[in-house]
């Protein structure tokens, strides 16, 4: 017998569909009005502007470095927090979420103050001697500001990933002759591959959208520390709304391109296993 329509399930499905449809519609509406607000010649001019071109290059470079650093740090932290029980674990867990809940400007301000302390200045001097570049108001500050927020999201993702993988497989590996490090490298990490790709993608996307901490800790100096998010701010502050929107569209295009590429690469890696 065909169920009567509408029934209780129908209303539930309509509620789910409304939530999904409403949210997706809002996202698409934002993109459409952005696209409608600018003209192709403005976008064309923007991508040929040396300042904006520099911001594109620095954005891609800094986001990639901060995403790689985030994954490198998040994988061991996620594994440790998922698998081990130790005193102070709850406190550390709360600590790891601080960059997620803090206002981004506060993170930038905190980094700035940290690098004004004697320890921070010593670190900056050491870094200067090593690389020839300072940290504060330089490119490393852009990367550090992006990393501070992006890494927290990567840690959450990796922890959830390891929580969902079966620790029993690693235990069996121990009985088969593995050290803990081998069990991690040969069993846990390959099983967490999809999570590693997701953590890296999320970190990259967060880093691209980061604005507050970069503005405070690295500044927004043209041809020096300007990334796409700060370009939007700079263009808006001088009243060039068209260019700000064009740069925003450029950011969306780059973000979508990178996300699609990374997911495709992740799927290939998964298939190769």
């Amino acid at each position: 017998m065909i169920p009567r329509w509408p029934n209780r399930d129908t209303w539930f499905l309509i509620a789910l569909g409304t939530a999904l449809g409403g949210y997706v519609l809002l996202i698409l509406a934002m993109l459409v009005v952005d696209a409608a607000h600018t003209r192709f010649d403005v976008i064309w001019r923007a991508v040929h502007d040396p300042d904006i071109l520099f911001a594109v290059k620095l954005s891609v470079f800094s986001c990639t470095i901060s995403a790689l650093l985030s994954v490198l740090v998040a994988v061991p932290i996620g594994y440790l927090m998922s698998r081990m029980r130790f005193p102070g674990r709850t406190l550390i867990d709360v600590c790891l979420d601080i960059p997620i809940v803090l206002p981004p400007l506060v993170i930038g301000l905190s980094l700035l103050i940290l690098f004004q302390t004697s320890a921070g200045r010593a670190l900056e001097s050491w870094f200067q001697a090593l690389t020839g570049s300072g940290i504060t108001y330089e490119v490393p500050a852009v990367i550090l500001a992006q990393f501070m927020v992006a890494c927290a999201f990567a840690v959450r993702t990796m922890r959830a990933t390891f929580d969902q993988t079966n620790p029993r497989a690693e235990q069996v590996a121990l009985t088969l002759g593995c050290t803990r490090a081998q069990a991690f490298r040969l069993v846990a990490l390959p099983e967490a591959w999809r999570g590693v790709v997701t953590a890296g993608t999320l970190a990259w996307a967060r880093a691209l959208g980061e604005f507050g901490p970069i503005l405070v800790f690295a500044g927004a100096t043209r041809q020096r520390t300007e990334v796409l998010s700060t370009t939007v701010f700079l263009e808006l502050s001088v009243g060039r709304l068209d260019t700000a929107v064009a740069v925003s569209l450029l950011m969306i295009l780059i973000a979508v391109l990178v996300l699609v590429l990374v997911r495709r690469w992740g799927a290939l890696g998964e298939g190769a296993r």
């Binding site: 029993r168 235990q171 121990l174 009985t175 088969l176 002759g177 040969l186």
Partner: protein, 221 residues
Amino acid sequence: MLRVSNLTVEAGTFSLRDITLHVPQGSYAILMGATGLGKTTLLEAICGLRRVTQGNIQLDGRAVESLPARERGIGYVPQDLALFTTMTVAENIGFALHIRHVPASEEQARVQELANLLGISRLLERMPAALSGGEKQRVALGRALAAKPRVLLLDEPFSALDDQTREDMYALMRTVRQATQATVLHVTHSRSEAQALGDCRFVLDQGRIVEHTHPAPSTAI
């Protein structure tokens, strides 16, 4: 030979106390007991995955309770099998040999030998996700046997199988036992499983071994 003497294991609020059992060389011992009474905890303690508070574990006369799991030479098949999902069946079975840097040709030969014994030769290139429940059991068994362990610990290995597959697995276990001469400690709820496979039986209750029986000769393998 596996000998456990006066073993105490603390596992949160639960504890095993004063566990003593002896599984002679080449015997097939069955460990029974209701759910949640510590059978898995005992197996984990024997194979080195859980810290022992007190007591001794001896394998072939050698105390192993303070050795890490990798040095005990025990094969372990957990209840959920925990196959390595990113490896093929051949890689799963050869894992212990790969870790020991056994030459590839030797590893391949051992994998093939076990695959023949377990009847899974045609599955060697498959991934675990593409196997049936009975096939997964065979792979987990092959993986545990690859490095020729002194003792094999099986944690309710056939509990999720249908009757026919379970009967097949009993027959397979007899064949495996004949071929490997392994000493086995097998956890189960099933009396029929205990009768079909076991030489001796231990019953665990309230964190202690409360019964130790040798079945009539006709029920032994």
